[in-house]
Symmetry: C2
Subunit: 355 residues, 2 copies
């Protein structure tokens, strides 16, 4: 792509809020179904919004896909993760062989899992099933300078938009995002601190398992990264380039691309929600297309949920990533859609309505 910047801007201009008329049509239909009004709670809200996204009163979830996007982080040289960096490519192979948690949940829930190399620091070009989209071979250490150039950050976003477009072309009706990247909670906490304008300490957690000393060090590294790079919170691409990661940028692009294609998209946990937050900063209208999969046990997610303004569907103390929370949430969204589209009406079923 010659000019990702203008491509991103062009796609963002296409994104409009969902049509309130379809929301109303869905709400009307809910009242005709054989249940007390409102008794399906959030399932009704989910289905109504999906109806508006799909511009129908009878939304469908036929094909589901999760993109698991992988990338490495230069900041791991600062010792911010409990796991060594080679785990990222090892886990990519585990995804491709179907042995990881997301593969199991994908099979259980009928969700296609596609694995994307956005920035793994290893040559994975011979992996046939892997979507080859490498923008960087690991980011640079953002504790000493920017993680990526602005052009690289834009390339991540642009590629993500294309992945969402490809999903729409493949007839996917519900999209999810997940990630793998040793060190990426450090990037996610840095992004969150900058976007929300808060102290890194309040949004930094233990990741895959740091002890107290490790956590204090991680916070200090993030403070230094923010100090050195001075990312501008109002400019999502600047934040992504300076303290982000390739997989986070590509997930943000998927969210933007989903909205542009009238496709509902489900964020997973903490890291993918930072991607969603970056997408929102680029174009606030994407909020209408976004569902929040689960409440991560990782510190920082709660503040981010407030920022997104969309409560998670699940709260199971998970903190794995990979799209595992999104996969479970997609079943709930599918159920909600089917309820609205398939339940009998009072009239059809000959059931007496409220006295």
């Amino acid at each position: 792509m010659d000019n990702p910047s203008s491509f991103i801007a062009q796609v963002c201009r296409l994104i409009e809020p969902v049509d309130q008329a379809w929301l109303s049509a869905a709400r009307e239909r809910q009242l005709t179904l054989t249940k007390p009004p409102g008794s399906l709670g959030r399932l009704e809200e989910i289905a109504n919004r999906l109806a508006a996204i799909q511009r129908t009163a009878t939304p469908v979830v036929t094909k589901k896909r999760i993109y698991v996007v992988a990338g490495d982080h230069g900041v791991t040289t600062e010792g911010v993760s409990a796991y060594p960096r080679e785990v990222t490519p090892q886990m990519v192979d585990n995804f491709l062989r179907g042995g990881a948690a997301i593969n199991v949940l994908g099979r259980a829930g009928g969700v296609e899992v596609r694995v994307v190399d956005a920035g793994v620091d290893a040559d994975l070009s011979d992996r046939a099933e892997l979507i080859q989209a490498k923008v960087v071979r690991g980011t640079s250490n953002f504790a000493v300078g920017p993680a990526m150039t602005r052009l690289e950050a834009e390339a991540c976003l642009a590629k993500g938009i294309e992945l969402a477009q490809a999903a729409a072309n493949d007839g996917i009706s519900l999209l999810g995002i997940g990630e793998m990247g040793i060190g990426n909670t450090t990037a996610a906490s840095a992004i969150t601190a900058v976007l929300l304008g808060c102290d890194p300490e309040t949004v930094t957690g233990r990741g895959t398992g740091l002890d107290d000393g490790g956590l204090a060090h991680k916070i200090e590294v993030i403070r230094r990264a923010v100090e050195i790079n001075q990312p501008k919170g109002g400019d999502a691409i600047d934040v992504l380039a300076k303290v982000g990661g390739a997989e986070i940028g590509m997930m943000a692009g998927i969210v933007v691309g989903a909205a542009a294609n009238h496709l509902a998209v489900v964020a997973d946990g903490f890291i993918s929600t930072t991607a969603a937050a970056l997408a929102l900063r680029l174009q606030p209208n994407v909020r209408d297309y976004l569902f929040n999969g689960h409440r991560s046990a990782e510190r920082g997610h709660t503040a981010l949920i407030e920022f997104i303004g969309e409560q998670p569907l699940l709260d199971l103390s998970m903190r794995l990533g990979e799209g595992t929370g999104a996969a479970l949430a997609m079943n709930i969204i599918e159920g909600a859609a089917k309820l609205l589209s398939e339940m009998a009406t009072f009239e059809d079923a000959g059931v007496s309505n409220k006295e």
Copy 2:
């Protein structure tokens, strides 16, 4: 059944706590799987308990079934529900035709839905697909006397135990309970108030949609029922007979029978949790076999959840019943089981473990 009382006592004696050795074996296996320890949160606890229930380190959820148990309530003559009583048999027909919410979620989640007549006030004997288990043709109005005789209450429990046994014989590996019965939130609130020894006002809600006046009246009816019948909170069968309902008793029996057959069972919302609470009062060991599907929006459920000591898996502001929350939760339990049984280990996948 000649003597349901001794049958129930005999089954209760069979129920033992789950084997701690299998719990430990499952926890050990979790540590070998390709994920940071504990990162799947409650999914790990669920899978470990399922392992202990099934006495294996690799639990399976192959066939899932929900019993939707229906019954009518004499107390509806007091005007405690927003819907007329004829809705119970109408909804039974809706279940049998596959048009209700539970049918939709059952199809979506691969859960077999079996409908049971425990006490509907209508002749449904010609419904071929309906499990004919009618104990009473609607309960008596417990605002003026006991809802059922003690023998009838025992017959409900015994039949429920038999339904769980039948599920075990059919190779079901995960069971759910749900209900339909106009007026049954009144019975559920009365049971909850008696079991927990609390003021009915604190555990009585709007059911399918009462207004403020209706709610105040419902609370007054429950107070009167407790005053007149003097149910003994320590005697589950006495509580069930005096202020319960046929479908609640049969669900309690299913919970007891599931535990006796080493079968995990998922409660739905408020009403089915009162059934689970009655089962616990009969035999505290059933707790080990019980999962709590969702947090109902109905007032009274929270206190009951404390009593059960088992947090719900979902919190989606649902208040429909029918087993809808259980159906969604069963997918989560199935996913949890598959994660424990199917994920690759660090060794198999060649993934480096924590540094």
